[in-house]
Subunit: 366 residues, 4 copies
């Protein structure tokens, strides 16, 4: 193939003239140049560039998973793109170390000039939360008015518009709900599985009761927890109970999708489930890294301003820390671990299903 | 110099025969070899090796700082050794990624064999908490009985014995309390500083009141927080109030040490305070990395066992997450940021003090 | 399931008494305790622990791939275990930062006591090189006598014995040679592919010739390189030429295996090739990380002893740096990139083959 | 202080409208959108943002060190800013992992559209090389014509202009040359040091000669190397020999600066030398990280295009790898390790000097 395209020049291709002329220190504008404001600007711009890339990957994955049917070949593509997101997230976390080379005293040299700008106003970060599927009520728990009033009307509209689109959570849920194989399972299969789990939970109960190192108070606390776990598990097989827990906000993933995710996790060694399993695991990775980022970011803010309020009038690091846990999107997938049982106790798959999970031709002949 | 020492052989020097023969999988012993148990053993052994190194560095630093007087040359040595601790902590955090290559299902292949062993039984980790200066009441909040009953009598004695020794917190506090320069400050100096901070807090108050994006409720919450901050700050100059807050457990660092740490942080550009400042910053780093490790570790546990109880009958990741925040040792140093004021607003140092903070000879002649 | 196993105690399970009593500083034994020798010992022990884990994973993968036929389900398992190796390698590289907190002057406090012990005597590291498939002539290029004379007779025997077993390179090669699908390709398919590549190489040639920024000398150098590339590529389709290049030591992977690896790389989007592709990519990752480790390690040594000779009388960092490039095992897989062509130019797969690469059942119905 | 500044809005402050509208995929423009081109653009833009930050820090450090006299307080500031540069460099290296989530096949989807743009055209990266002090002859060794002809006339002028300014190497060298203390040393002091080093080198010689594991050939090679080391060391005390080695290009740092750097490294435990030592160490860090980045970058390129030539017609990864070693700027500082001797063998400092290196006031009274 010949190359019929006009010659390209590095700095034009990357639009560097504009990019590298986008750092204007307020402290300089106000006649008190603060050296570290440059770092402050550039680190935030680097974050925004990466946010754009993450959004780009997320949108493509949501798109691929929303097709009906999803091409088998696309599952691997989704896994690769989500894996890319996790590699970016690792860098986002490490970048905090760069920002922490700015000391609290250095920050004060220009902090007053920034009022009331705030990271809360990063539209892309909010878009990211929305795309992932963070629910409004979690997102807005902090304060609805504030949440929306902090951004420009135009940005507010963008956010509201964005909330109308399918999210990663929606896409995964409906993809899981469409997983085949479950139909054909004889009642017996899930029945066997169910009693296997109950045996496991009973064993856990005896662990607590027999544990000499636990006080009575501790035991009751833990037995209570175990009770909830059991209730949660029973719900896995009882659509109505499951629905009830969703209404209470204790679960989010639909009954059918939960069953499918559990099935994929249990039999992920089957060739055809290898990629679907990695897809689920990638989302758990992303959720974990997002949570880690939120927490590390909160620690950095704490270090930078102590117990002061944020530049944008936010209540500071306490709030930020609280979001680390409350803003998780895929906990239902993480919590599946609770219901896994050892391979040794895993019921045989019905022959019919097993056949359909292998490859028919003899690629195994390698 | 000749080398009169008997020749050394790599594997004998490192005692590799023993070291590399210390991995015995229970699953193998019980006839059901689980591949991933090897990783589980080795990753924990790697952690214990690093814990030993951290304890070794901590003890040396505590020792150096406990000398009276502390040789100026030793401050730099302490900074280097604490910096080494932070580099190790970063690896401890990254090692979690290795462990996470073990999936929850793989863990189940051998989990039952480990009961009731638990990370709670890592004596070195507890030693580390004790050496840092984690207070019993925080450390034991979870459950005193359990805390001690989980370990062997011999280990329990080791822990109780360890609690008798001076901690990093003690060492830093007394070193700070012995900081010179403060004596000579005329009342006028701290007085100027005090009003500078009050101006800053008043400005913060107006930020809250003038902030259109805050609801009345939010404002009152934030004003309340600001009130506490102000009270906390006033205590910095009022020994009795400071003492009161310590009694309430809201502060831990002594009044005199707090004043010294604040002084060092404010005038850290003075050559002679450069190292002392880095020493304080290193402790804030260690505290932050320890907190990050605890949180990441909790996320890993969550992912591995979901909402189940831990192998040792511990209540699992909820408890682990709670320790991330509650087990901080040097928050009082991190919170100093709250009371820093911009260099521009910083009162001139009394000439006498300034002279004593520079180098007398003309090294500046470079 | 009940837990009929005797209770386990953390420190006994991990054999910590022995592990944590395996650090004896020579400098202390000789009455001149050097603080940093503890770090030196522990960092090397941490490396040896991880080497053991890597060897454990490698052996399992070699074993799985040596089975005939290789169970399809095991390919995913191999990918996961090799991925674990790469996560460990990342930590091995980061650990160098910990060692670099020891300054050259600190190292001198105990360096003389270690003579002539040397990292060259790490049997596990050599085992790792052997297992990967590093060829003796590369490994011994430095100096055969020295290579073997540095270690104890017992260790030497271990190494010689190890060289008798199949390596990762052997396993991958024979697994690739057994890849199906290639038989059925009509000559026409590879023929189309071949001319597509030739078009690409011709385009590259014109790039060089048309490039105004290149001097005549540069052009000739590059055209020479392109010539080699073309020769190398033609060999891909000519068993005898390929064999010739192997004899010259310019290639190592067999003709049939090379063809298979190329096929997998080109059509990796086909569901059934997704895992095989990831397997190949994982080996390229391991090779790259090993190379990075060697180079970083050489830089650390350079920094520590400058241009001095190593403790074991090795010629120091120059040699170490040279091994980074010369000791690569899977370059033939990395170099496949040379012969990839854009998807747009990729010839249609024969229908028969395409069918066999998809899943027969309608999992796509999701 | 009240905040009299106009309210600031996050996205305006960071100029996000322009920043986030600077990614235009050529593949899209040409009607064949390649998903991964977005990553390709953004990762390069992120690199350029960080390059700007590094240049900003470097210029500030060069400025501070070029003052006469250099304020003692500024040495700490330089150390902090260079430390920041190293934190950024670590992220630059880790970012390569993100780019490597793009496979060679994905790159081919848009590679042809980019011709002849090339990383060689990154003006900021070249500026960085120039600022560090990379000498033209190293920088241009590859090919002068090509080096300059690849960039636009305007950019070429920028580069030529930049070469007129003092570099980091110049700044450090002249700062070292101005180090005091050296004057007063009695001949006796350096004389004692000199013989201490000779003893050490003699011991090294006997190590080689007595080493049973070395072949005669190896021995002669190593003795040759030792000879050079000795010659190099003698030059440290013989200005004319030193000058000769500089002329041969075997050394770069001036005689006087070398002596000062050696002095600082040897007595870095003296409080007043603590920061100067850290300044030297920071430059060694930067050099090492830059070298690591070059090498890792070369590996990434190798993986992406195999043995093909680069988009800009560059000869590809072979050249890139060669620059890792040849483009080091501060080797003379790294090589100082060669001439360090154990503290135990270190000659007493003349009392006069020792006094001047301590702090006169009793800060030690802590």
């Amino acid at each position: 193939m010949d190359r019929p395209f006009p010659p390209l020049y590095y700095s034009e291709y990357l639009q560097l003239d504009g990019l590298l002329d986008s750092q204007h220190r307020k402290s300089e504008e106000y006649g008190a140049p603060a050296h570290d404001e440059m770092l402050f600007i550039i680190v935030h711009q680097a974050y925004e560039l990466w946010f754009k890339q993450i959004l780009f990957e997320m949108d493509s994955v949501i798109g691929l998973l929303s097709a009906e049917p999803v091409e088998e070949a696309h599952i691997g593509m989704c896994v690769s793109r989500l894996h890319r997101v996790t590699e970016i997230q690792k860098v986002l976390i490490d970048q905090l170390r760069i920002l922490e080379t700015m000391t609290p005293l250095d920050f004060l040299d220009f902090r007053d000039f920034l009022f009331p700008a705030s990271g809360f106003q990063s539209i892309q970060f909010r878009m990211l939360e929305i795309r992932l599927g963070l629910q409004s009520d979690s997102r807005l728990r902090y304060n609805q008015a504030a949440y929306h009033s902090r951004v420009s009307p135009q940005h507010r509209d963008q956010l509201i518009e964005a909330e109308q689109h399918p999210t990663m959570f929606d896409a995964i849920q409906s993809w899981l709900e469409r997983t085949p194989f479950l139909e054909t399972e004889s009642y017996r299969f899930w029945d066997a599985y169910r009693s296997a789990v109950h045996e496991m939970l009973d064993a856990d109960r005896s662990v607590i009761e027999r544990n000499p190192t636990l006080s009575e108070e501790e035991k009751s606390v833990q037995l209570l927890g175990l009770g909830e776990t059991t209730a949660h598990f029973d719900a896995v097989f009882d659509p109505s109970r499951h629905e009830a827990l969703r209404t209470e906000g204790k679960l989010r993933l639909s009954h059918r999708a939960t069953l499918a995710a559990l099935f994929v996790s249990l039999y992920r060694d089957q060739p055809i489930l290898a990629m679907p399993y990695r897809l689920i695991a990638a989302l758990v990775d992303i959720d974990e890294l997002m949570t880690t980022w939120r927490y590390r970011h909160a620690l950095m803010v704490h270090r930078m301003i102590g117990t002061k309020i944020g530049t944008g009038g936010s209540s500071g690091y306490h709030y930020l820390k609280s979001t680390a846990e409350s803003h998780r999107v895929f906990s239902d997938l993480t919590n599946l671990s609770t219901f896994l049982i050892p391979r040794t106790a895993l019921p045989e798959l019905p022959a019919l299903v097993r056949d359909r999970l292998g490859f028919v031709h003899k690629s195994g002949s390698r």
